[in-house]
């Protein structure tokens, strides 16, 4: 497969949030505004890129029995680096909002999922591209979600007013709003896929939660 595919697949075909359904916790928690989504997405992208490359580098050295603890250590190192960099250089307001979610990137299933499912089996370059693609896919999905929620909640985008005199819609700003908007997004994905399948004359059944879509436990 081409190198470009490793990057592109994360953006749409295997989008971590909308297709693989990974990383739901940060998705629901920080997608209250477009700005927070962008910050969280970029922080996760950095961790994904770093951890994928590092894990791919040590994949032949680390014994299989202790690979998960080793991966967690590597991911934790990159997450802590992100935390320190954000403390030093990020805008104070963004840092305060994302503060409690940054350490949680360590246990973000996207990061560990890609480490186990991809980086531990592929070359350094491919793993880097995969991390970058998955990270951008996560960022885009989060921003779409955050943008819709922020617009519906306050009529603003990136904290700039788009529609004057918008009646505040509090539900959208709270976590329950994230569930509702995400539900519509997933329904939209299914509609698109149904159409695509019909065009080529196939039948599409929406995926159920099963082991075939995830190979973390190598079943």
């Amino acid at each position: 497969m081409s190198y470009l595919h490793e990057f592109w697949k994360g953006l749409w075909k295997e989008n971590p949030v909308l297709v693989l359904m990974l990383g739901m916790c940060p998705t629901l928690a920080v997608s209250s505004s477009a700005k927070n989504s962008l910050g969280m997405g970029l922080a996760t992208t950095f961790v994904l890129l770093g951890s994928n490359v590092a894990i791919s580098l040590v994949r032949n050295v680390v014994p299989g029995k202790v690979r998960i603890p080793c991966y967690i250590v590597i991911i934790a190192v990159f997450t802590t680096i992100v935390e320190m960099l954000m403390d030093a250089y990020a805008p104070a307001e963004l840092n305060r909002t994302l503060g409690i979610f940054i350490p949680l990137i360590v246990v973000n299933c996207i990061v560990l999922g890609r480490a186990e499912a991809f980086a531990s089996k592929n070359s350094v370059f491919r793993s880097g591209l995969d991390g970058l693609g998955m990270g951008f896919g996560f960022t885009l999905a989060l921003m779409a979600l955050g943008g819709v929620r922020e617009f519906l909640a306050a009529g603003t985008l990136f904290e700039l007013q788009v529609v004057p005199g918008w009646e505040p819609f509090l539900l959208m700003k709270l976590p329950s709003g994230a569930f509702i908007v995400l539900g519509f997004f997933l329904a939209g994905m299914n509609v698109l896929k149904l159409r695509q399948a019909r065009r080529v004359g196939k039948k599409y059944t929406p995926p159920e939660i099963d082991c075939s879509r995830c190979n973390i436990c190598n079943r």
């Binding site: 080793c70 250590v73 590597i74 603003t156 700039l160 700003k173 709270l174």
Partner: protein, 204 residues
Amino acid sequence: MKDILRLCLSIGLVCLGGGAALAFVNAKTEAPRRAAAARTLVDSVKLVLPPETAATVSAPSVDGVDFYAAQDSAGRTIARAAVGSSRIGFGGELKVLVGLSLDNRILGVMVTEHSETPGLGTKATDRKAQKSLWAVLAGKATEDVFPPNAYLDAFTGRPATGFSLGGAGQSQPVQAVSGATISSKAVLDAVNTICRAAQVTEER
């Protein structure tokens, strides 16, 4: 036995490498991190102090309230700022920053940290200017550094001797924001804590 050694060695090496990387980044970012933390505090403290303020100097804390002395360009103290907190917010702790004049009147109140409900509790805590996207695109947006908030502005100009929520015969009443009573009370609680600490420092 040999296997265990191998496993321990590989985990140990990974941890060692990770530790080294962290130590390096920690050393590199230590100064910028401290500068950023100090800058954030100074920037917000300046908002509640008179415009003549040239420098802010940390002063001794009293009862958990941190004081800062504002000095003009000649080095004379012209006002004070105090940061106090309250734990009775709807979302837990919130931090309030108050500017105090030399005759102990309130110059400005601002909530610097909170976790109140967006849209409800934040009516009593947030000073937020709404910039229009279209104005920004047209290049006509203006920066309002200290936007008004009816509740927080109710304290401004009054003597810092303690406040109470409404009620006839009460001293220095302020009107709580409807729909944000708990957040209003928490802000009031923090302001009163600061007032008490300010009086203690006056007596010294």
